[in-house]
């Protein structure tokens, strides 16, 4: 990934790369829930926020360094994920969507109103960048490689999950929960593992986000963010290994490219979602697979 060498001097492009990277990890999180379990979540901003605020709080308020803080933050988000996984076993489809919406909003509202801890709308500012010993990741350039490492870790974990028996269990649950359970898959455990991992990834992304951008406030963690992540997951191709990278990068670039359209961009965005659902519900990766299998035959 030598891309950044070309853009090293441009803050603008480095920003796009780094934010894309962070969102890629967040998309891997939703990719897990939607792709492997078939559940829609529009509350992912909640996990993201937990990761961001816990990391920021720990690096600012305690003597803890970035990496241990990130670990704790990710664990917190993973726990939140597991918590969300419980209703998932009993409630399906559109009811579950509502629960995820409620979750995301509850997190945002608590952050907004718990001023003593989170400073409300003023947010947390001057979050220190990550450091490893004496090496500080202060430049956008170095941050890129940090994010890249975590993307690779996320990909590896996703891949190994896919190959493991848990991955197969999840996919079987997606196809038919009844049949899978009869075959011995434990829906509760499988779902909890999935949600826990998803929470972990999202929390990871959140911590990286907080330390990169330096200041966070509750407005960023809204339903709109959750929806954006959902769209990135779908456009790339839900449940695939490369989908999140493709979908996220495509949408981030598109957003910048069409920035001149301002509010009309969002109108196109909404129309685009409908378009994708009608014509390519399996995303770009789905399209690629279809085309390649047609070419083979």
């Amino acid at each position: 990934m030598i891309l950044p060498i070309f853009f090293r001097d441009s803050r603008y492009y480095m920003n796009i790369l780094n934010f894309s990277g962070i969102f890629i990890i967040l998309t891997y999180s939703l990719n897990l829930i939607h792709g492997y379990l078939g559940l829609i979540s529009i509350g992912h901003a909640g996990f993201f926020a937990i990761g961001a605020y816990v990391t920021a709080g720990l690096t600012m308020g305690t003597t803890l360094n970035f990496f241990p803080s990130l670990l704790i933050a990710s664990t917190a988000a993973a726990l939140a994920g597991i918590l969300l996984g419980f209703p998932a076993t009993r409630i399906g489809g559109h009811y579950f969507v509502l629960i995820t919406l409620a979750f995301g909003e509850i997190v945002r509202l608590i952050i907004l109103n718990w001023k003593e801890v989170t400073n409300g709308t003023n947010g947390l500012n001057n979050i220190p960048p990550p450091s490893l010993g004496s090496w500080v990741f202060a430049s956008r350039f170095s941050y890129y490689y940090l994010v890249l490492c975590f993307i690779l870790v996320t990909m590896l974990l996703t891949l190994s999950l896919r190959r493991s028996k848990y991955g197969r269990s999840m996919l079987s649950l997606k196809t038919s929960e009844l049949a899978a359970t009869v075959m011995g898959v434990n829906p509760l455990t499988t779902k909890l593992i999935n949600f826990g991992m998803a929470g972990l990834f999202a929390g990871l992304a959140g911590g990286l986000y907080a330390s990169y951008i330096g200041s966070i406030s509750p407005e960023a963690f809204s339903v709109d963010l959750s929806i954006e992540v959902l769209v990135m997951t779908l456009v790339g191709g839900s449940g695939t290994l490369l989908g999140p990278i493709i979908g996220t990068t495509f949408l981030m670039v598109l957003k910048e490219w069409l920035r001149f359209l301002r509010e009309y961009y969002m109108i196109l965005y909404g129309a685009g979602i409908v378009f994708v659902m009608i014509f390519m519900p399996y995303g770009i990766m789905g399209l690629v697979k279809r085309v390649s299998s047609q070419l083979k035959s």
Partner: protein
């Protein structure tokens, strides 16, 4: 105290009215329409444009808005539902999310981000009954809610077209076999939902004012009302709406007004976990 009950009651009626259009579509085609709140909002926005920009008297603005909304309902159906009606449920849900974004930002582009005011039919006045101050608009809300909900019960059970709609909702295949033109019924359902949204919009706008985010805010509340009452049940919807409205007001004034929405969400989650069918609705939790 009574003051608060009146306020909560009227908000609850609005939630029920907003939810009704949504439930109509859901019952008929099983589709969750996330953009319904935006439809309500558009009803109000159309009313604003017709009455304030074009200077129409309010009742004419309502008629024009109903017409515009009916067209919007048809368009919505054609573009966002019919092409994907045979796909899995999640596809339809996500498409409706897309429509929600599209409509919300169209409103932003057309009317701008600042809140706009739509006047109430009965004006801004208040009346005083034994020390309790009631907005005239709130009386209008009660009246319309009562009218709509008793009307719909008669409509669906006594009229031929109402029964056809019911048949389509219960079993599309069987309805087709009985000679009912299902696609036309679905179109009609979307139109009805849009009309109801317009009416709800005219009732909400004077209270909450009109801005592009209103749609999302109100549909979320309507969802909670629907879940409390039971997905798919109309009497449940009214009960759920009023329950939510009252709870909100009482929580805000006696417990905490900042966390009021958090509590509403917690109610949603609790009901879904403990009593997923709500008070009146269908069973949805599956124990495998």
């Amino acid at each position: 105290m009574i003051q608060e009950i009146v306020a909560g009651f009227s908000m609850g009626c609005i939630y029920a009215l907003v939810g009704f259009g949504f439930v109509l579509v859901y019952n008929a085609v099983g589709a969750v329409n996330f953009a319904h709140g935006e439809l309500v909002m558009f009803g109000g926005y159309f009313g604003y444009t017709f009455s304030t920009h074009l200077g129409m008297p309010l009742w004419l603005a309502l008629a024009a808005s109903l017409l515009a909304m009916a067209i919007l309902g048809i368009l919505f159906n054609q573009v966002a539902y019919l092409p994907i009606r045979n796909r899995p449920v999640s596809t339809v849900i996500i498409a409706s999310i897309g429509m929600s974004i599209l409509l919300r930002n169209s409103a932003l582009a057309i009317w701008g981000p600042d809140p706009l005011k739509l006047n109430s039919f009965l004006g801004d006045g208040v009346i005083n009954i034994g020390g309790i101050v009631i907005l005239r608009h709130q009386l209008l809300i009660f009246a319309v809610t009562a009218f709509v909900f008793t009307g719909q019960s008669l409509f669906f059970s006594r009229t031929a077209i109402g029964r056809k709609l019911q048949a389509t909702a219960q079993d599309q295949e069987a309805a087709k076999l009985m000679g009912i033109k299902v696609t036309r019924m679905i179109n009609l359902t979307f139109i009805l939902a849009a009309l109801l949204a317009a009416i709800a919009g005219f009732l909400v706008a004077p209270l909450w004012f009109l801005d592009p985010e209103v749609g999302l805010a109100i549909i979320v509340k309507a969802f909670i009302a629907i879940v409390i009452g039971g997905f798919g049940s109309v009497p449940g919807l009214v009960v759920g709406g009023i329950f939510l409205g009252l709870t909100e007001v009482l929580v805000a004034s006696h417990l905490t007004s900042e966390y009021k929405d958090v509590i509403s969400f917690f109610i949603l989650i609790t009901v879904l976990m403990a009593m997923p069918q709500g008070f009146f609705g269908e069973k949805i939790a599956e124990k495998v």
